[in-house]
């Protein structure tokens, strides 16, 4: 099936530093999402993105978070500065239509020390 690629698979970073998580969505998809999953728990919606804009974000999407997809390249999640509670697995997803099936990547495990 369609593949969403996430780079890197694991990122270790010191608290207060900046981190960028990269996502290569399915090529013809138009909607992009980030979810956060703390080990063994549910997936929690962070943000969705369409036509170059954030459409909706949750309370978990703090001011230190930002997303962009410059010129159709990677869809990125930037955290600046990072905090200990940002440690989690971050999943990127994409869909062709807004109410369509979401395809998820394998996740990036972020460890903030």
């Amino acid at each position: 099936g369609p593949k969403v690629l996430q780079i890197p698979s694991h990122q270790i970073i010191d608290m207060g530093q900046m981190v960028t998580l990269n996502c290569d969505p399915v090529s013809n998809h138009l909607y992009f999402y980030w979810y956060k999953q703390i080990l063994g728990q549910q997936m929690e919606f962070l943000v969705n993105f369409y036509n170059g804009k954030v459409m909706e974000k949750s309370k978990l999407f703090k001011d230190q978070f930002s997303v962009e997809r410059p010129d159709g390249s990677y869809f990125t999640l930037k955290i600046q500065p990072t905090a200990l509670e940002d440690s989690a697995v971050y999943f990127c997803a994409s869909s062709f239509l807004g109410g369509d099936t979401l395809y998820f990547g394998a996740g990036t495990r972020l460890s903030v020390l």
């Binding site: 099936g1 969403v4 996430q6 909607y31 999402y33 979810y35 728990q41 549910q42 997936m43 929690e44 919606f45 969705n48 369409y50 036509n51 804009k53 459409m55 909706e56 999943f91 997803a93 869909s95 239509l97 807004g98 109410g99 369509d100 099936t101 979401l102 395809y103 998820f104 990547g105 394998a106 996740g107």
Partner: protein, 116 residues
Amino acid sequence: QQQVRQSPQSLTVWEGETAILNCSYENSAFDYFPWYQQFPGEGPALLIAIRSVSDKKEDGRFTIFFNKREKKLSLHITDSQPGDSATYFCAASAKGGQGGSAKLIFGEGTKLTVSS
């Protein structure tokens, strides 16, 4: 506020048995209910989905039963196999989100173990 709830948290069945995973929701606007299967170290993958206009959706060994009045649904896995051992997430979304985007709300998941 937990909008989508799942039970049980974990479930063990023998190979060949039917596993029943339950899900309930609160928001009457939800009209799309996918179930995702997640193996350790991987992202969730769509297994089967149902829209609120239907009360049953079948795909091979996987069947969703949907009760709109009670806001409940269940996933039945017949003839369970060891390869079905995974975490299953029930999710829900409502049409008409911002820009038409679908914000999927996930339940806490049910960890299924199929013993041989």
